[in-house]
């Protein structure tokens, strides 16, 4: 699986793949205690969001009176593998769309319900429930050439210095993965467990929240939730993580 991931990464990012070691999940950089927490479904706090999401999946909402289940059926089958391939290309907007926005699109366009706010308990729960159905499956970005310019833009952002501290994502996560930053091990930045439960947050959160955290840390103005740059970054990170298994709900310090 790791070899397949590397091969895919080489195809997508020939320039940057050379300085990256074999892809490793962030899970390999956390303490044994945190790993044990993630491994036990009855101790993993992220499962609270997954179980909340299961209830929301079955709950009718909006003017259509339909639930997610009314159209998609049993998520265990219909949603299996979905999180492993998102973000996808959305012809309507001619842009990539991530899972959170897709869930909201379903709500507003098909269920006749209100879109859910970014980082709201409901959106995180539905996102966690959907992504959980892909747990164990390798990240498999779609081979869609319409996505190429957006992956390229995400890659550019990843290597772009930003903020008062003037460093890029790559300056830590490519050049110094496995080394320490104020006591914490720097992971390779593979987004395989989102939405994750972070002990620091005392809550589940999205990849965009995590990215904003890093941007604040380098004293840059973080991109807004749902911004085009955010989705391009998500897209690039997923292409880079190809082959690694989905872990949702991940647990991280």
């Amino acid at each position: 699986m790791i070899r397949a991931g590397l091969a895919a990464a080489l195809i997508c990012t020939s320039a940057s793949a050379a300085d990256m070691p074999a892809p490793k999940s962030g899970l390999e950089y956390v303490s044994p205690e945190t790993r044990a927490l993630q491994a036990d479904d009855f101790a993993n706090p992220g499962m609270l969001w997954v179980s909340g999401g299961a209830d929301l999946w079955r709950a009718a909402t909006g003017t259509s009176g339909k639930s997610c289940q009314s159209c998609h059926g049993d998520a265990k089958q219909s949603m299996r593998g979905v999180a492993a391939r998102y973000p996808l290309y959305e012809p309507k907007t001619k842009r990539p769309i991530d899972l959170q926005v897709r869930i909201n699109q379903c709500r507003t366009e098909r269920q006749g319900a209100k879109g859910l706010g970014f980082e709201s308990e409901e959106l995180l729960s539905l996102g966690a429930y959907v992504a959980h159905q892909s747990r164990g499956l390798p990240v498999k970005p779609p081979q869609d050439e319409r996505l190429t310019p957006f992956i390229k833009n995400g890659e550019k952002l990843y290597f772009q210095r930003m903020g008062q501290i003037d460093i890029s994502c790559a300056a830590c996560h490519n050049a110094h993965a496995g080394q320490r930053l104020s006591g914490n091990l720097i992971p390779q930045a593979h987004p395989t467990g989102y939405p994750i439960y972070r002990l620091e947050w005392q809550s589940a959160g999205s990849l965009q929240r995590r990215l904003r955290g890093c941007m604040s840390a380098v004293r840059a103005e973080p991109f807004a939730y749902g911004a085009a740059e955010m989705v391009d970054l998500e897209l690039y990170l997923m292409s880079r993580a190809a082959g690694l298994p989905i872990e949702t709900p991940g647990v991280r310090p």
Partner: protein, 107 residues
């Protein structure tokens, strides 16, 4: 959304067996020590009491304090005595009590 609770206990056990029970509830466990954006104290709201009853009899209870993290995970053991209901109750500072229960068959 309704209170999100996870309980894990064996569905069956032998009489006299020590069983492990794991419980978790989603709760923000606001300490009362934090300040909001305007500098005002955010009032304390924690789960301060957890109780477990086995067929009505209290077998485990805990008083919780502000140092306990959000989404408290409480795990403990008890002895399987007879078939019946094991019920759980969490009470927070706002007086809200959340409950859950599981059935156990003892042979």
């Amino acid at each position: 959304m309704a209170a999100r609770i996870m309980v894990n206990a064996p569905a069956s056990a032998a009489k006299g067996e020590v069983i492990e029970i794991k419980t978790m509830i989603a709760h923000k466990m606001e300490t009362g020590h934090r300040m909001g954006t305007m500098g005002q104290i955010i009032p304390r709201d924690i789960i301060h009491r957890f109780e477990c009853r086995y067929d009505g009899a209290l077998v485990f209870a805990a008083d919780l304090f502000p140092a306990v993290s959000a989404n408290p995970f409480i795990t403990f053991t008890t002895v399987a005595t007879k078939s019946g209901k094991i019920s759980f109750k969490w009470i927070d500072d706002k007086g809200k009590s959340s409950t859950s229960s599981v059935k156990i068959k003892v042979t």
